[in-house]
Amino acid sequence: METWSLISICVLLGLTTRWAVSFSSYSGAGKAPMFGDYEAQRHWQEVTYNLPVKEWYFNTTDNDLGYWGLDYPPLTAYHSLLCAHIAKLIDPAWVELHTSRGYESASHKLFMRTTVLFADIVIYIPAVILFCFYLTDGSSKKKVATALCILLYPGLILIDYGHFQYNSVSLGLALWGVVGLGLGWDLLGSLAFTLALNYKQMELYHSLPFFCYLLGKCIKQGLMGKGLLLLVKISLTVLVTFAFCWWPFLSDPQQILQVLHRLFPVDRGLFEDKVANTWSSLNVLIKIKTLLSRDTQLLLSFALTLLFILPSSIKLLIKPTLWQFKLALVSRAKVLLIVNSSLAFFLFSFQVHEKSILKLCSVLMFLFLHLISFVCPFCLSYSMLPLLLKDGLLLPYVVTSVAFLYLGVYLLSALDRNVKSLRLCDVFLCVNRKCALHLVFLQFRVSLVAMAGLSFTSVVLEPPARLPDLFPVLVSVFSFLHFLALLLYFNLVQLTEPPSKKGPKKTN
């Protein structure tokens, strides 16, 4: 079948799944007085529409930061403002100051879901398609299969259309950044990524790779000639974009500080809820939260994060210099780095939310070069299970995960018989590659069974009275172990990658 029709079918499938999931409940539905993320988004529309910019991030009589105060960068606020204008046209009661708190209705839900879908269609989906077609290798069938898997990734769908968020915007923008860099359009890439950063500060996870790659590229081109020019252009782009986004806040340093304070709430402690994070898992054994002071916690997490990112970042800094003309390899290395830094950030960072794992896994998608990396996205949506259960999203979770798993394993194994890309031999020190493959698949199946079992028990059984959080903790620890293994594996892959024997593919 022709590719265009296959692609349109994939997109339609993705959209249909998204909309089908949107029928179900959202975060905090009917749970007064605080409700959930859905109410937070609605509240931001209310705040941005009715209050002047100066007051958005401050605690005033009209703006109670305790009730879902804005804690994303300005671009989110502008997006909410835009949605609020549209909401006002349809039904002003949705964004009335104060009185619209906790507003819930079928038509409002429809409106909110539509805004998510629209953002998806405009930003995320085109980026995915472009990425699959220009930055992945393989037959066109494989590209389509990859696109399908990415579009059907349960985690993103469940969070954006179930729980309710706009992750597709920031992820899409970041992806545009990757596409830009991959195609050699550095300025566009930097612009897109800066916008992504200004939409959700979690994109900082991915900022280091972008930085290292671009810097490395500039160095490679010679800091005295073209490289310097490129560096200046990129820096200008980034700075102008930042200025543009933060324009209303630039007049007063107090504003900037307050916004930063809201974005990085160091007061909230090392972690919240049960996250598949080092700290959370460690907490099971040693009560870190109470043992160390807040400042120590901060320093420790910062240090460890940096420690884990350093090897891969340095590698990328050097790499573009050596391989910069091998476009495919470079972008792959860059993407590998993205994985590593995201993982490191997630695992060791301060105040990490489960949803941050989305950043990570969506990038992992792009590594469908490896079959082994398929475990990861699946595991990641699994790690959000407690959150999903709270929102009443069990059924969508089960259905989408099963479908995704089936599709991914079937399609990709069918199309990717050639598993040379697997670096299993090194990892498992197996002489026989077949043996290594079997090991991997065995581990995969074991993990799957364990996850399924744990999911089932979380739902059906009641935890013992002494350990009320038993299941969420088990889920997060289990996921954490997987993530840690992934981190080590990917670091290994990246660092031990031998020089390719192929000739230069493209010049920059």
Binding site: T16, T17, V399
Partner: protein, 496 residues
């Protein structure tokens, strides 16, 4: 062959996924009554003694399917007990707890699995050419076409539990085809050299076997009711002729066109002062409820007339099949025509009935170019005519997306399959099908914003029915012609 089946299965899972996503609607709207209908039937069969089943009238949705289905619901109700006892209380009208919904949807999915199995078996019967790429294999396309059948997904009920289970008397539509075919092929064990009938090979034994099977099935399902003397009540429930000529939303059949013609003529008559407006009956044919009404200008249509028309329409094809049955394909073809004929001329036809014609046609479409062409036209218009069944704003994206999905897939895959034989649909047909897009835009988006929405709210439905009726009629004629010309060419070959 394994790859066919595995591919088929991989596609089957996705519709189930979507169906399960549809499981997520917290509360089914009260307008979309299928849910409530089934809940009521579960309750009735579970709580009341058999003698009461066809007399029960607490809910407006009375049991109007044959007894076998009632037994099926009875069996289901025993499982339902474990989900939520409350749904089985007859008085709980419009009861819809999440457990209830879950149960209903699960039962649909389970029956879908049976359907999938049946399709899989059919797949195996098709010839496969070696060397075609996987997506192009007819069986895959067929499987995908069947399982993705937009109509099934939308209607959300496995209308065809399996080709063999006669649970709903909508199957009466194709009973003649079945009957004649079985009679012809089963009871007459041998054909002449040219395929025509050999009277001498009539096997009485087989006729008796066939007859007894049929009669005993009927006896098993209707038996208790005949003993109780309730047969007439059952029949009156099964065939409610009190309901009007057309369903609430006009099925795109001949009578839709007939109604339109009648309306147009009456308006014309009033304008030209030929008719007196006071003498005409109040026009409410297109209100959302089922009512009896009279036609104003053209003669009114009675149930008997529709029956006669239906029989007349399917007689030629039955005769042709009698004289020269063409094996499974001939049977399928006559089945499609019977279903379409009953759809076109039947009394109080529901739009869902179009699926009865489309699904068997899928089998034929992957084998012959002409049939593929007819299939494309019929399925697109048929599915489009189902749109009014889902009318909430929430469901709008879903129905559009699914329709697009199915249409793109069927067009592209069938085109690829028959790429060597030239263009699949000619420009006139293509223009007609493309015309569905502006039609949808007008009906769903533009019309509600105009002032006419309040005065004449039924116009979009009317437009949809009439436009689709043209397509369905065209497909019907094409199919008929294909059967008759095939018969002609065979007789010509025989004569030479």
């Amino acid at each position: 062959d394994f790859s066919c089946v595995s591919i088929a299965f991989s596609t089957f899972n996705v519709p189930s996924v979507i169906k399960m996503c549809n499981l997520l609607k917290p509360l089914y709207h009260s307008h979309s009554t299928d849910f409530e209908v089934h809940r009521n039937w579960l309750a009735v069969t579970h709580s009341l003694p058999v003698s009461q089943w066809y007399y029960e009238a607490t809910s407006e949705w009375t049991l109007d399917y044959p007894p076998l289905f009632a037994w099926f619901e009875y069996g289901l109700s025993h499982v339902a007990r474990y989900f939520d006892k409350e749904m089985l209380v007859v008085q709980n009208l419009n009861y819809a707890s999440s457990a209830t919904v879950l149960f209903q949807r699960l039962s649909v999915i389970v029956t879908d699995v049976v359907f999938i199995y049946a399709v899989k078996e059919c797949c195996k019967c098709l010839r496969e050419e070696k060397g075609k790429d996987q997506l192009g294999k007819p069986s895959f396309i067929l499987a995908a076409l069947l399982l993705w059948n937009f109509g099934l997904l939308i209607i959300d009920r496995a209308l065809l539990f399996s080709i063999l289970l006669n649970l709903k008397h909508i199957y009466l539509y194709i009973a003649p085809a079945y009957g004649i075919f079985l009679l012809r092929c089963f009871c007459f064990t041998q054909n002449n050299a040219d395929g025509s009938l050999q009277w001498k090979s009539f096997s009485l034994f087989r006729l008796v076997a066939l007859g007894s099977i049929v009669l005993s099935t009927f006896a098993a399902s209707f038996g208790p009711f005949i003993i109780m003397g309730q047969l007439s009540q059952v029949v009156s429930r099964l065939f409610p002729f009190k309901r009007g000529l057309c369903h609430a939303y006009w099925a795109p059949n001949i009578w839709a066109l007939y109604n339109i013609a009648d309306k147009a003529l009456s308006i014309l008559g009033i304008k030209l002062k030929l008719l007196d407006i006071n003498k005409l009956p109040k026009a409410s044919m297109t209100g959302g409820l089922v009512q009896e009404f009279q036609h104003s200008v053209l003669p009114s249509v009675s149930p008997l007339m529709t029956l006669i028309f239906t029989l007349l329409s399917i007689l030629p094809v039955l005769l042709s099949m009698w004289r020269r049955p063409n094996g499974a394909r001939g049977f399928l073809r006559s089945m499609v025509i019977c279903a379409l004929g009953s759809f076109m001329f039947g009394w109080h036809v529901h739009e869902k009935a179009i699926l009865m014609a489309i699904l068997p046609l899928s089998f034929l479409a992957v084998e012959s170019k002409e049939d593929a062409r007819t299939f494309l036209i019929l399925s697109t218009t048929g599915h489009f005519s189902l749109f009014p069944l889902l009318f909430t704003a929430q469901e709008l994206p879903i129905k559009i997306l699914l329709m697009l999905l199915f249409t793109i897939f069927s067009f592209v895959s069938l085109k690829k399959l028959f790429s060597k034989h030239g263009q699949l649909v000619n420009s006139l047909e293509a223009a007609y099908l493309l015309g569905l897009v502006p039609l949808e835009l007008i009906c769903e988006f533009i019309y509600p914003l105009t002032s006419w929405q309040h005065k004449l709210p039924f116009i979009p439905l009317l437009l949809t029915s009439v436009y689709c009726a043209l397509g369905v009629l065209y497909s019907f004629i094409r199919l008929y012609l294909s059967v008759l010309t095939a018969a002609d060419s065979r007789s010509k070959a025989k004569a030479q």
